[in-house]
Amino acid sequence: MGIEGVGARVARKEDKRFITGAGRYVDDMVVPGMKHAAFVRSPHAHAQIKKIDVKKAQAMPGVIGVLTGKELKADGIGNLICGWMIHSKDGSPMKMGAWSPLAFDKVRYVGDAVVIVVAETKGQARDAAEAVEITYKELKAVVDASKAMDKGAPQIHPEADNNLIFDWDIGNADDTAAAFQKAAHVVKMDIINNRLVPNAMEPRAALGHYDKAEDHYTCWTTSQNPHVARLVMSAFYNVAPENKLRVIAPDVGGGFGSKIYIYPEEIVCLWASKKTGVPVKWVADRTESFLTDAHGRDHHTHAEMAFDKDHKILGLKVETKANLGAYMSLFSSATPTYLYATLLSGQYNIPAIHANVKAIYTNTAPVDAYRGAGRPEATFVMERMMETAARQFGVSPAELRRKNFITSFPHQTPVIMCYDAGDYAASLDAAMKASDYAGFAKRKAAAAKKGLLRGIGMSCYIEACGIAPSAAVGSLGAGVGLWESAEVRVNAVGTIEVLTGSHSHGQGHETTFAQLVNERFGVPLDSVSIIHGDTDKVQMGMGTYGSRSGAVGMSAIVKALDKVEAKAKKIAAHLLEADEGDIVIENGALKVAGTDKNVPWFQMALAAYTAHNLPGGMEPGLKETAFYDPSNFTFPAGCYICEVEVDPETGTTEIIQFVAADDFGNIINPMIVEGQVHGGLAQGIGQALLEGAHYDNSGQLLTASYMDYTMPRAGDLPSFKVSTSNTPCPGNPLGIKGCGEAGAIGSPPAVINAITDAIGSNDLAMPASPSTVWAAIRATTKH
């Protein structure tokens, strides 16, 4: 490892622009002639649209256009789709209802877009939006997935009887039933995974520009995957063919999953630009983000785990109702199925598993992948069950887990996944040591003297990243391949550009990807540029989500670097009159091994472009492309331990310490990896203690601003103790697993296990707000 190579704690190249105010986000973009859009949105959760009257709005100052869904439909713009086909257990395909980018006959959640207003200024667009008169006939709404299939519940889409989208099974029901027959103990729980709002700090935005002379569209958008956006808008939404549509995702202020999806607004802004003849910019305000960004989680689960008399797990049964909201978002069907139920084996040897998932429409915002996507829900089920089992058996939670750990690899679970490598005991030991688990009893006694309830809880999570072999996901219903592309361009002066289909919106790719190049060729980081986020520059890519940019995106770069290295060595061997096999790259030069004969990197590059003296038959230039399709998911895993103090008088929880011991395989930049863990932990702790999206029974979102939705603040969190161990991933050339989501996946059960340990009651909902904790304490004690 050099000072800028793989494994080095290098400060980020991209920071300069962000700390000086020179970042370029979509809202910072200005195109000549650009105007501003506001959307008129449904105030009702469920209603028929009787009439839309735009006359008053059209006459308002500065108004350029007021456009409706009927006009959009007449122009042939298509409905939004879900890109992952799930079949129910009876073999029938999922029941997807129509989602028009602008609703014209019916609205199905508060925030559903109905009309776009384009005006000279943002203020004028909003004024005119208020003047649009829409007559609705209100219908009964349902917001709770556990009630949406009840008799008498409103029917949301004609395509989905009883609001059931699919009824899906995984695992083996007979084997699982047989396992429960043999059980000495059965642990049963009802578990709710609370609905969250992702809340990237940059609100979603879109700037659509139609160039009439070229018949060409450009879309600047807050996207984690601009190429997928272009593909979907071309192939399914009929906005424009791919060669006439450029999608640019410039600096993007956080995503956490919510910016994977293609939303109505970018489609409508592009279409409206053509209709009005001006570039159209829309930027969400925060309440629009709360109402319309895809939400996360919202599972209702009943789980049962069977143990033998020695506390070894025999089987697991899980039934989950997943709330998908009012429309099926782009990957909404995959999140509660293949990203959730396939992880229900946790870190444990479980001979038989059977899970059933019902996906259900409600009159709420669409629900899709949010940091962790399915895996936090699976981990919460498993780790609440294990902790509960340990309490019921009166055994150590650590030892119950240890007894059931998977210890030999590869390990085929009963739910598709084949774990390739891991050492779960190593993470457990590291976390117990770092948290001084052995000394907890003393600390608890000391807290009790102060009148405080001290508790400790752990969570041993596993997740699946680097999604995944294209053929495998294709066979499971994915509408896209899940590979990644890279292009490495060596310039004539030896500097290097790497074009990647991954997208950085905080992950630090401009630094870590450059570290790979530095490691390989010795070129300083400053001479390496990473280019991403523009469909005109990067040919194709699948983007960033599911912690895939390391395991998949960087592996593609490695493949392209291999090709560059091979050609560079051929050129050097020719220049040095040596054998190609004897060339090594050291300290920025290509050398004949064991001699002092060398050609500096930049001279080799220059030779490639002057082409005066290349090996016979070799093409000039030095540029290589690679597509990398992974052979398996990767399986990061670890152990988190949370210690809390609860004030029984107020129900307030303070996190005294939080320890994370993760195995991410090999690491490119430890500083960035730690940062990813910190951020994930904050989101997971936020879910456990503070955050929750609440709709009232009429479908109004009660938590639609930062006044009402509790975002974790600095004062809510401790500093974290993080460490890593390493079992390299055998499935990719770098041996890396991915670290982007682990913190959010592993932490919620650790927090809830700690609080329930402190208060002596196992029944506690998330978020464990002071009132919830206080009520749980009151329910178990006599007052």
Partner: protein, 166 residues
């Protein structure tokens, strides 16, 4: 429309704005200073913090016309030419930013916080004083570290100056 006259990052700026124009929109749209961000509608997130007459202010809580006559420093004006301000340098060194969207507001808040605490800062104080700035990426861990480090650097620098003056 009203006239707005400001001193922004050391330069005199005159313009007109609708009466309802917020200071943040005037900075972004009239002056092109897009480093100051808008992350919410309720003055909670702190991505729009600038210095108005030496104090950290959420520029979404103030009308442009109200600010007329004030001296304003935005993130674009914090560095001394090519030399980063110590708080900017500390955010980079300690990885106190990821997506960068909250960063300008964080840095402006942190600078004000350090200036108000010449006696130095501790972790609890930093966390309490960050109440008005939300970050979704970093879990605050490295932001707190960066602010504590910058506070030390700045206090050393001011002691050094004091010694030189003596």
């Amino acid at each position: 429309m009203s006239d707005v006259s400001l001193m922004v990052n050391g330069k005199r700026v005159n313009g007109t704005a609708e009466d309802r124009t917020l200071l943040v929109h005037f900075l972004r749209e009239n002056l092109g200073l897009t480093g100051t961000h808008v992350g919410c509608d309720t003055s909670q997130c702190g991505t729009c913090v600038v210095h108005v007459d030496g104090k950290a202010v959420k520029s979404c809580t103030m009308l442009a016309v109200q600010a007329s006559g004030s001296t304003i420093v935005t993130i674009e004006g914090l560095a001394n030419g090519a030399d980063l301000h110590p708080v900017q340098a500390a955010f980079k060194e300690h990885h106190g930013l990821q997506c960068g969207f909250c960063t300008p507001g964080m840095i402006m808040t942190a600078t004000d916080m350090i200036n108000r605490h010449p006696e130095g800062l501790d972790e609890a104080t930093v966390r309490a004083e960050l109440e008005g700035n939300i970050c979704r990426c970093t879990g605050y861990h490295n932001i707190v570290k960066a602010i504590l480090a910058a506070s030390k650097t700045m206090s050393k620098a001011s002691k050094g100056k004091a010694r030189q003056a003596a």
